[in-house]
């Protein structure tokens, strides 16, 4: 398979989950292991362009696929617009869910670069934030969507006044 554009080859047990392969064999620890039951989405990566939960896929299922993890979304020192959005709109508190949230948000914006708030919330329904920081996560995705479309992002809530 390729991970973030790099071809990799390895032998794994059939029961090796993709997330463990990525973290422990490829040493890419940005992809997080959260609930381990397919609910939380912290382990979200892209397999052939589709957002999937890497704790619920065997590494062997991804043989020959193109994998993108959180480490592969920035262009050198230039953050991906979604990463920038999380930075600019304070889209994280503890940060544990952030890699998965960003991967889910990128997949959402790949399909729809002008989502409504409702569409954003549905697009990240497979990702849980235990800090319950959803409000700013939605703002971060809105910021990223604007940047991707090349328009002025909405002002941050803290500059809007009450």
């Amino acid at each position: 398979m390729t991970i973030n554009g790099r071809a990799v080859t390895a032998d794994v047990e059939p029961r090796t989950l993709l997330v463990h392969f990525i973290r422990e064999q490829m040493r890419l620890t940005g992809t997080h292991v959260g609930c381990e039951t397919g609910y939380c989405g912290a382990c979200t990566v892209h397999v052939d362009g589709r957002a999937i939960k890497s704790c619920t896929m065997f590494a062997v299922q991804a043989e020959g696929s193109e994998i993108t993890t959180i480490e592969g979304v920035a262009d050198g020192d230039d953050l991906h617009p979604v990463q920038e959005g999380f930075w600019e709109r304070h889209g994280l508190q503890c940060g544990f869910c952030t890699p998965g949230m960003i991967m889910a948000a990128i997949a959402l914006l790949d399909e729809n670069d002008n989502p409504s708030e409702d569409e954003i919330r549905h697009g990240i329904e497979g990702n849980l934030c235990r800090c319950t920081g959803y409000h700013n996560i939605v703002r971060a995705v809105e910021y990223a969507a604007a940047m991707i479309r090349g328009v002025e992002p909405p002002p941050p809530d803290w500059e809007k006044g009450s």
């Binding site: 029961r15 299922q61 497979g126």
Partner: protein, 286 residues
């Protein structure tokens, strides 16, 4: 959490996959139902037969008076494919409400049907749309009507040596429409159904000439709500007729309490969602 050790094969043809099946094997398509069970060690097959690499199984086809949905068609495709949306609207709506984005990107419609969870969405859609399950074994092909397919909790009519290679659904005719709706376990539409319902209707000259209603999440299996359908047939589809039919949602069905609702609450929800599904099906029929 690692599953117990198992052997794994990813055959290149359906014939090779069928030849590998035995009493200790399990077929895997997307793995969205199987892998969590294996990780929790609730289920530990000795051999996983991954059909995910078999060419041709990921197609949605127009086959004359039916459409055919292959074993590897993912929920995301079922939810959006024009042929399915037009001819199996209830199934497409159920697929759109299955799991979450990531699950819909990886899991398959046929896999969800074969898994036969008591609270899954798409079995209700398959029942309402009168799907035919196409089961292949090394000795031949068997067609199983959806009404005979969901046997019990996590138990379908598939034998250990069979693979659900596709489902076939009759195309929507004039005046026909279907729909699905549910209450999810995490509120709204999220997660498995606390209760859900699918309805299919054929309207003719302002009345309902034929109907099928199915419920999920309330009993031991997704099943047809035959009394509701009988009440609809011959009616004018008015609010009072729908309400009367919805009242019969669990007639003849054993409603079971679970972590997500009491028997009373689930009975109430079944009636509410049968009503909503019938209304939406009627709206789709015109």
């Amino acid at each position: 959490m690692y599953p117990r050790q198992f052997e794994y094969i990813a055959p290149a043809s359906i014939e090779d996959a069928l030849a590998a099946l035995d009493d200790d094997s399990k077929v895997m398509a997307g793995g969205m139902s199987l892998i969590p069970l294996m990780k929790l060690r609730l289920f530990s097959p000795g051999l996983v037969v991954d059909i995910g690499r078999i060419p041709g199984l990921d197609e949605v086809a127009d086959i004359g008076d039916q459409i055919e949905i292959g074993a590897l068609v993912r929920h995301a495709t079922t939810a959006t494919h024009p042929l399915i949306r037009e001819n199996a609207t209830a199934l497409a709506m159920a697929a759109a409400l299955t799991g979450d984005v990531q699950v819909r990107n990886q899991g398959t419609t046929c896999g969800a049907l074969a898994h036969s969870d008591v609270a899954a969405d798409q079995p209700a859609g398959a029942l309402a749309c009168q799907a035919i399950m196409v089961a292949r074994s090394s000795s031949g092909t068997r067609e199983i009507p959806a009404g005979d397919f969901f046997v019990d909790s996590l138990t379908s009519a598939l034998e250990a040596d069979e693979i659900l290679t596709s489902i076939r659904i009759p195309k929507t005719g004039p005046g026909e429409g279907s729909a699905y709706d549910k209450l999810g376990r995490r509120g709204g539409h999220s997660d498995y159904a606390v209760a859900g319902a699918a309805a299919w209707v054929r309207t003719s000259n302002g009345s309902i000439a034929d109907a099928r209603v199915a419920v999920t999440g309330v009993g031991t299996r997704p099943q047809l709500a035959e009394s509701s359908a009988e009440a609809l047939i011959g009616s004018d589809g008015s609010d009072s007729a729908i309400k009367a039919a919805a009242e019969k949602a669990v007639e003849g069905i054993t409603v079971l309490e679970d972590l997500y609702g009491s028997e009373e609450y689930k009975t109430h929800l079944a009636k509410v969602y049968v009503g909503r599904a019938v209304r939406a099906a009627l709206a789709n029929a015109f």
